[in-house]
């Protein structure tokens, strides 16, 4: 069973879907023109091309991409190698055709010289480019601490979201056949997923830290949940993962032996669940591709909330398209078993209980911290307290963390320790075997106070480890 898993993922449904679309498109799809000459033409006229468009703005004041509002925003664009718009975070893609054309031309010109455009920098703005096969992604950000590695990762996430909807196999096939294909036909209705994901990458520390948060729960209660799921699913073949979520927090993750999920894929699952309200009212059966697990094919996800009283979402991921009723039955069994115990109460209690606070550890001058378990990619992110109660200050703290994480985990110049005294805070980052720790202090903390804080916090984390993290990785 396990050996065939990879092949079985081949998306037959998807294939049908494309064929139908291909038929529909036959008349409208333009035949791919000789691309080289098209690009050459565009290079020659690149600057001329921009000229008229800029002039246009003088005549029509309403052009959105010439306004101050447009310029103040952070942008994400996706286009095809032929310059067809696929996605724009702001504005309507059809109004931006000229801009997409310029982006395509610039990327292609660099590509022509056997090189790859990565980024453009002005004094305060970064333009990041990512080329994935026939998909080009571009972001424009003026957020000072949002450096190139972060924006590049954001674009990778957007690309992964597209793969998650289409699979790499399908995407490649489409563009192999129709270089000029308008991918929006296949993605219509999915813009919300991409929008939500981009928001997630900007606001959720889970993205920056490449980790997931767990719902704090006594390990005995977690064991009950695991037991209920594994015993109900024991006889089901081809079931790869069972995931229980409370909001964006992980309650349990059970996996088939040999297989594992990376945080990046889990984030896509979180995004799917948080973007769709329909799962709350009815169980869903949806194809999903998890690119870091297997970009080539779909899995089927059975998605449902456990009960009215306990708003936790259960996902059962399989490679078998025929399993809906089996999984639906299994879910009922799981609910029945859990209802007999008092686990729902415990889970609800934990959901309602305020998140962990940095101040509860009684460490002087400590304002906030992040503890990341490197083996399981799980992290603790305490609730914001004074002075991080305003959205702006929370935002700058997030960016400070993301930058700190990038510095410590830099691909070229990684760090073991970083201590930095800033105007409004002092920060300490420490990367060691097993975990990473980031602490935010009042600005004038002494180094010995900071070191003492580290020691004290580590003790507390050790003590709470079973409750805060899912340590034993459960398998079917």
């Amino acid at each position: 069973m396990e050996e065939t898993a990879g092949e079985r993922c081949e998306p037959e449904i998807a294939q049908e879907k494309v064929e139908v679309l291909e038929k529909k498109n036959e008349e409208t799809v333009e035949l791919p023109s000789s691309n080289d000459s098209a690009i050459d033409h565009e290079i020659n006229n690149l600057t001329d091309e921009l000229g008229p468009n800029l002039n246009l703005a003088e005549h029509e004041e309403e052009i959105y991409w010439q306004t101050a509002e447009w310029k103040s925003k952070k942008h994400v664009f996706v286009l095809s190698s032929a310059g067809k718009p696929i996605y724009s975070r702001h504005g309507n893609e059809d109004d931006l055709v000229a801009l997409f054309g310029v982006m395509q031309a610039i990327v292609s010109v660099v590509l022509d010289s056997d090189d790859e455009l990565q980024s453009i920098h002005t004094s305060n703005t970064h333009f990041t480019f990512l080329r994935k096969g026939n998909i080009y992604l571009v972001s424009v950000s003026s957020i000072p601490l949002e450096t190139a590695p972060i924006t590049k990762l954001q674009l990778t996430y957007v690309y992964n979201q597209i793969l998650s909807i289409l699979t790499l196999t399908q995407l490649t096939r489409i563009f192999d056949q129709y270089n000029n294909f308008d991918l929006r036909r296949l993605l219509s209705g999915s813009e919300r997923l991409i929008n939500n994901l981009v928001d997630f990458t900007e606001t959720d520390p889970a993205f920056f830290f490449n980790a997931v948060e767990c719902l704090p729960l006594a390990s005995s209660a977690r064991d009950v949940v695991i037991q209920a799921i594994t015993s109900s699913c024991q006889k089901i073949k081809n079931l790869l993962f069972a995931i229980l979520l409370a909001g964006n927090q992980l309650v349990v993750l059970i996996r088939m032996k040999k297989y594992n999920l990376l945080p990046s894929d889990l984030h896509l699952i979180l995004n799917l669940v948080s973007s769709s309200q329909s799962f709350r009212t009815a169980e869903g059966w949806t194809p999903i591709c998890l690119p870091d697990f297997d970009a080539s094919g779909y899995m089927q996800a059975h998605v449902s909330y456990l009960t009215e009283e306990c708003q936790t979402c259960l996902l059962l991921l399989t490679i078998d398209r025929e399993l809906f009723f089996t999984l639906s039955e299994a879910k009922q069994k799981i609910v029945e078993k859990l209802q007999k115990s008092n686990v729902f109460e415990q889970i609800n209690e934990s959901i309602q209980k305020p998140k962990i606070l940095a101040s509860e550890f009684g460490i002087s001058r400590l304002r906030h911290f992040v503890y990341k378990n490197k083996n399981t990619n799980q992290f603790v992110y305490p609730k914001y307290e004074v002075p991080y109660l305003l959205p702006e200050s929370q935002n700058s703290l997030l960016h400070l963390y993301s930058q700190l994480y990038q510095q410590v985990n830099s691909s070229q110049r990684p760090l073991k320790v970083i201590f930095q005294q800033l105007k409004t805070e002092a920060v300490l980052g420490w990367d060691t075997k097993g975990f990473e720790l980031y602490l935010i202090f009042e600005p004038f903390v002494t180094k010995s106070e900071a070191i003492n804080a580290v020691n004290k916090l580590l003790k507390c984390m050790k003590k709470e480890e079973d409750r805060l993290f899912i340590s034993n990785s459960a398998t079917f």
Partner: protein
Amino acid sequence: MQERVDASLNNFYIFNPTFGTTEGEEENKILFFHPPDSDTNNQIKTVGLSEAIIKFTRNFVSQEECKSVHTLKTRQYFYQAQPNYWMVMTVNVPYTKSKNGLKETVYHGENVQDDVYHSILKQAYEMYQLFYDSFQPPSEIQVDLVLLKEKISQFYSKYLQILKISNCDIVDVFQGIQFLPLDKKTYLHAQSFMNQFQCIFHDQVVFSALLVKEHLVWSNIELTDLRTIYRYLITTLLSSHLTENQNGAGTVDNSNLSEMKSGNGISYLNEADYSRFITCPSFYSNIDSEPVTQVPRLILRSGDRSIFQLLVYKVMSSFVCLFVPDAYELTLEFMRSIESFLRSKLIALASELSMHLEKKRFTKGIVSSVGHTFSYVYFNRLNLAQKNTLRDHQAHLTAEVLSMLADISFDSKKKDSVGETIVKTYDDFWIIGQFCNEREFYVVTQQKNSTLIEISDEMKIIRDKQLKSIYFHV
């Protein structure tokens, strides 16, 4: 086997998009292109892409200037020196390739840091300004393109030959000036000598400077000019004189001496009397065997952007630099009067200064009380003073560590007032950066088993010792 190839210059060009706006005349936009052997079509294409990129960014930012473009294999830097005059420098990033071609080539773009190379591009224009003031003077409405191209090409084809592209680091950004620390007596001696000189020649010499080797002792040139002039002196005009006499600052190279004695020029009393003009009008070169440089004509901003003739006189390892207004004719009589003054007064001072330099040489290499070796660099933006032991041979700093220094420096500029940054790298280098009142101080040391607190304490001792009289509160 892996082979690492250093960063190198790919191209360097200057263009103005307003020249040659009609199709077919694109070539006119290009004022300079290096390498010169690149064909016109390629030049037009390259410039066209830069132009497109600049225009593209303006769709999102109206006020900000395009500064750099990163590709896998290159880093490209943009600098708009004057409205519509764009300078672009493309650097090939260092890479490693396996000699048998089995492994993929790996490009190390991270080792070419934007802020470092962008300031190197800016410096290229500042040096041009020292000789030609600007590409287009504000008063000039119609540009003589032929003349402009000629000036630019004359300057940059030489400049690019001495431009160092590989392994640039934070010190290249500071572009600081090394002062020679002197005791009070010597300093007063130097000052009184220069004052006396200024008093006598105040009509002819507006600015002057005194250097010992690459160390500045005294100058009345304003800081805006001093930085570029200092760099010009060290990297170009005096460079050949700085490398000779490597064995000792005070002794004269024997080969030069024998030539001098056999020469027909003025006879010398002893070795210490070895003194002469390095730049002077050709009619005054009195020693046939010593080639004399033409008098450079420089434009000083603090001197109302007017032209000055630079005379440099050398005694032992000391150099006196004199800036004479262009209008003043360098007559034989004037040259003689300067030489006779300098010869009579400078020798005693020059040997005193040489002794100080010797002393300084012996105190290099900093070892803390616990026996750990430290390197450091200090830079004060207010007076451009720089102290630097990073490039000493015993420092053994890796490219990664030097890049890390620049990371820390630029990070401190990005974030709001950083007081101090301490990091430990994976190969156990501790790097400490402190920032206070426009001053920056960095210490590097390799220690595996020290703690953050120990490092911080040791650093304090080093700082107090090396920067004795400098107020630095962190």
